[in-house]
């Protein structure tokens, strides 16, 4: 594949993971923070698939598939929690929902 190697894919995965982590740290909108978590999961998936290609073994792809299943469940439950919070508190700002903070 020319000059493209697993190294390049790992760098892309690391960049997307960093961007997702920054989103969780910097943004205060719960829905955007949730999308940033999805970005991080996707970066992990890209890393898994790239290593799977590098080793020549399909186990990494199966693990990525399982991560997608868990991500789908997580989105359903998380968005239900956000809907419930907005109904009761009328805000998506994470600073306004601190009743679980010690």
């Amino acid at each position: 594949m020319g000059d493209i190697s697993g190294y390049h894919f790992q760098i892309v995965a690391a960049l997307i993971f960093s961007i997702g982590a920054l989103g969780v740290l910097l943004r205060r909108n719960m829905i955007v923070m949730f999308m940033s978590i999805e970005l991080m999961l996707n970066a992990a998936n890209l890393s898994l698939v790239a290593f799977s290609r590098e080793i020549g073994n399909d186990q990494g792809q199966i693990l990525a598939f399982m991560v997608m299943v868990v991500a789908a469940v997580e989105v359903a439950v998380g968005l239900a929690i956000i809907i419930s919070l907005v109904r009761n508190r009328d805000t998506v700002n994470i600073e306004d929902t601190s009743q679980l903070k010690w």
Binding site: I16, S18, R28, L39, V77
Partner: protein, 166 residues
């Protein structure tokens, strides 16, 4: 050809990921950037000979999950609440951001340092047939557990979204 496609897809993925985090105006813009990012990642999966994972990425992420996000955003009808509170402790956040990026790049370098040339994969690597056969023979227990997890998630979502919290 593959090299050009790699650069196109990876630049699109990273740029739209920045769009997800950086669009302060409305969460809708973030969700639309997320679609572009997911589709670009699906292209990268196909470049890595993982056709099945790329297909599932398009159907599950770009199809279902982002639609769910858009549905919730429009249902809640939120406006302009994205930027609120984003400016607290800007210096600490900037330093933390720089450290996070540097650490991640260093991690990627370390992970990829001892890389070998890619082996030639056999015919049918990563196709639906190969992954499906593996899933329903070696990993059948994982599939069952995933099914139970999906059922629990459905029930939890219905219960959580229905009730008022006391």
């Amino acid at each position: 050809m593959r090299t050009a496609l790699f650069w196109i897809f990876s630049i699109a993925a990273v740029a739209s990921a920045l769009g997800v985090v950086g669009s302060l105006r409305s969460p809708i813009n973030s969700a639309l950037s997320l679609v572009v990012s997911m589709l670009a990642l699906a292209g990268l999966y196909v470049l890595l000979e993982a056709q099945f994972v790329g297909l599932i990425q398009v159907m599950v992420y770009a199809g279902a999950i982002v639609v769910l996000f858009l549905f919730v955003i429009m249902l809640l009808n939120l406006r302009g609440s994205g930027a609120a509170g984003a400016e607290s402790q800007p210096i600490a956040k900037a330093i933390g951001a720089l450290v996070a990026v540097a650490a991640t790049l260093w991690l990627a370098r370390t992970l990829a340092a001892g890389r070998a040339p890619w082996p030639d994969v056999e015919e049918g690597f990563g196709t639906t047939r190969a992954i499906g056969e593996a899933l329903y023979t070696d990993y059948v227990l994982s599939v069952q557990v995933a099914g139970v997890l999906l059922l629990a998630g459905i029930v939890a979502a219905v219960v959580l979204a229905k009730k008022k919290i006391d």
